[in-house]
């Protein structure tokens, strides 16, 4: 999922200066799962804003997701009547709302962090950077681009100690994880392979990306 966390309330309050009618838009997918921008968090935020900012009226809408226009059409009535839309979706949701409701300011209520997993109750960790050319087959299903702080492709740096990364002791050394996994699989020989320099054009370095599925396009 895409993991996000709520922005500080002070930052949100500041961005709403002078607004009276606001729509707080939850999103029913990723940010619901990571408890940053689901309907529950939206209701809490709306209540809090009404308490903090006298004169503000906050209405909550909860589209199934903000990254598909059909669900935005469903909330168009509420959105059009507001002074401002406060989106609790990820960065994609905020931008898509801004495109759909082009006459309205759309303000983010969360910081979008990463593609990750629920590691523990209330803990989410990063697993994927969406680099566009997956090499997990070579590395035992552990991503060196994301989980090594230096995105080393050919083994750990000299700062790996007791399974931890030198950057922060709460971070596991990605290459220790790769090693442990390949060892368990009996495939340590994979570590002798030289992984060639990456073609970063598949990543963000090639500019904003686009995926097209031809057979879906034909239907148009």
């Amino acid at each position: 999922m895409i993991v996000a966390e709520p922005k500080p309330i002070e930052e949100i309050v500041k961005s709403l200066e002078g607004c009276k009618e606001i729509v707080v838009a939850a999103c029913g997918t990723c940010v619901t799962v990571c408890m940053a921008g689901g309907e529950k968090e939206a209701l809490e935020l709306a209540t809090l804003l009404e308490l903090r900012c006298p004169g503000i009226r906050a209405r909550v809408v909860a589209p199934k997701r903000q990254c598909d226009v059909e669900f935005l059409d469903e909330i168009a009535g509420d959105a059009e009547n507001a002074d401002v839309i406060l989106s609790m979706g990820c960065g994609a949701g905020v931008q898509f709302m801004a495109e759909r409701f082009c006459g309205k300011p759309v303000i983010p209520a969360v910081n979008t962090k990463f593609i990750g997993v629920t590691r523990d109750m209330g803990v989410w960790t990063e697993m994927c950077q969406g680099c566009g050319d997956c090499i997990l087959e070579k590395t035992g299903g552990v991503c060196p681009v994301t989980r090594c702080s230096k995105s080393n492709f050919n083994g750990p740096c000299g700062g790996s100690s007791n399974g931890k990364c030198e950057v922060d002791p709460v971070i596991d050394c990605g290459w220790q994880l790769i090693y442990d996994r390949l060892k368990a699989l009996g495939k340590l020989e994979k570590l002798f392979e030289i992984i060639e320099p990456k073609d970063w054009r598949s990543s963000r370095d090639g500019g904003p990306r686009r995926v097209e599925k031809a057979e879906m396009r034909i239907k148009e």
Partner: protein, 305 residues
Amino acid sequence: MSEGKSNLQKILEAGIFSVTAEIGPPMSADADFVRKRAVELKGKIDAANVTDNQTAIVRMSSIIASYLALLEDMEPVVQMTCRDRNRIAIQSDLLGAYALGLRNVLCLSGDHQSFGNHPQAKNVYDIDSIQLLQALKKMKEEKVFMSGKPTKKPAEFFLGATANPFADPEELQLIRLQKKIRVGAQFIQTQAIYDVDRFAAWMEKVRKAGLHKKAYILAGILVNKSLKSIEMTKKVAGMLVPDVFVERMKNAASQESEGVKIALELIEAIRKIDGVSGIHIMAVGWESIVPEIVKKAGFLPRPAI
């Protein structure tokens, strides 16, 4: 040495035990600082590593400071990290370095920027240190850039890499060393050694894999000036400092003398280990002590080749 092999390469190829040290460029544009260090070390060591924004603290460029040292007849080893430059900048800068007459390059990942004085910086890590070595070997042997496009006059560096005998996981670190040598590393500088027994055990594995015959292993020695310095060293990830050395510094009448004594003892023990081709002295923040250590260790005079 503007053409052909570097002094360091010639010394090692002649089977002479090499002695190298470091010049940490200043956190300023002070060229005299580098010149002074270079003059102090001239004739005392075979080559001086010039660090590349070590610990991610902004300092004078390694290549420029290397050139200033070269002008004083102190052969430098340019350090090049993968942290701050993409493949375009790395290749470009190293073409320039070679054009200036620099002949040794040590390829490193680089300390993560979170340790330095600009932790807000975006890092690069376009390529890793193994891919960098591979690219520089290919440039040398096949006269091509990483893109595969040809160059008429490639940079033909004597290529170095690092190894940490104390980092984890040990087996994987050794595989990584093998990879570094396979893709082009001709000399290997190790992390600073305090635990000689553990280093000797590591060297046994290195010899077993025949790596000491494929690349020159230069053993790293750190010189501590004070108790505080050795305590800080102990805290660095991937450093193994047995408590006995900390205790010795604590109890010493003169911490400076004790620091030198420890370094000399370590050098004496390490130089006897089969497969070690040289000593690399890192006297971070106390570079002026290097000539004394080299002299007391019996490394003088340095051979002129």
